[in-house]
Chain length 167, copies 2
DNA sequence: TTTGATGCAAAGACTTTGCATGCTT
DNA sequence: AAGCATGCAAAGTCTTTGCATCAAA
């Protein structure tokens, strides 16, 4: 989609020369355009590893040494708030949240070590992704709540070369 | 199952008179029997609200004023470790984990405010709970991991009297 | 008696917030 | 010029850990 490595080598202060597509995306979502936000967005979008706030921070810091971790958190909040990314809470206690610009419904696998993978779409298609409307209605009626979404979480551990669970 | 309110009124220091069933359960799971653990287990098992460590702490503190929050955490870890309960990580950032002695597979609804409900079994039965074996095999093969479990999480918000989403 | 559990306080991981300054609009 | 974003440090929430003491096996 937007690849951090595609940005111009004009690593300067002049924002106007930078990825107009991202800036348009920000405007469309009511976000101000700042250099920090662009870098953070590009880094997040370029990764398939569902990076943590700190991982993004470390990565962007190379190009933007003054960057603050608080800004990364604030920015990711803003993105999440306006639908530009999803926050994936950690399944571990005190584990860091992870972020994903792919806001389409998809299935995540959470590893015991905290990593998160996407299940490839062709595999996910083997599952029935739809909740029966009657189920949704009944749950809402009986629990007095309004369902807003759902997620299938697979749990897993990594494997060694022999295919046996590691760790 | 085990109801805290069913315990004998001998609220004394003599453990031998207390719920032998729970003590047997602990032994069967390789856990030492202590007054604190019994109280914590009974309180957790008596609740359907998926209480947090702190909620359990507050509740047990009435009968066991010396109880430490650290002990509650340590105990819940021990329970979780040996399969006596499940830990439900919070979907919120910095939100407290919740605990559940019902270790059967069941569907949870996570409210935006952090509460967790069980979906009644008769409703959950409307869903197909099984992952196709071919799906599991393919995921394991292509991602190089070993699937250990899965969970369907519904997201929801509470409703006001009119059935409209609240908050 | 040996080993593990408890209580306390301190530390730890992650995230948010207050406030002065600076950049966007 | 007005208002939101940034950076920094401090604070906040939840959880874990070190250590001396105590209870269970």
């Amino acid at each position: 989609m937007f690849d951090a490595s595609e940005r111009t080598p004009l690593n300067g202060r002049d924002c106007e020369c930078r990825s107009e597509a991202v800036r348009a995306l920000f405007r469309a979502h009511g976000l101000r355009c700042t250099r920090q936000r662009e870098l953070i967005y590009n880094t997040l979008a370029a990764s398939k590893a569902h990076p943590t706030a700190d991982e993004i921070f470390q990565s962007v810091r190379n190009e933007e040494p003054g960057l603050s971790l608080a800004t990364v958190y604030n920015t990711l909040d803003a993105f999440t708030e306006c639908g530009l990314c999803h926050r994936i809470p950690s399944p571990q206690t005190n584990g860091p949240s992870r972020y994903d610009t792919d806001t389409n419904q998809h299935v995540h696998v959470m590893l015991d070590d905290g990593r998160v993978f996407d299940v490839p779409d062709d595999l996910a298609a083997m599952l029935d992704h739809t909740l029966p409307p009657s189920f949704v209605e009944e749950v809402e009626r009986r629990l007095g709540i309004r369902l807003t979404g759902y997620q299938l979480h697979l749990s897993a551990c990594g494997c060694d070369k022999t295919g046996n669970p590691s760790k």
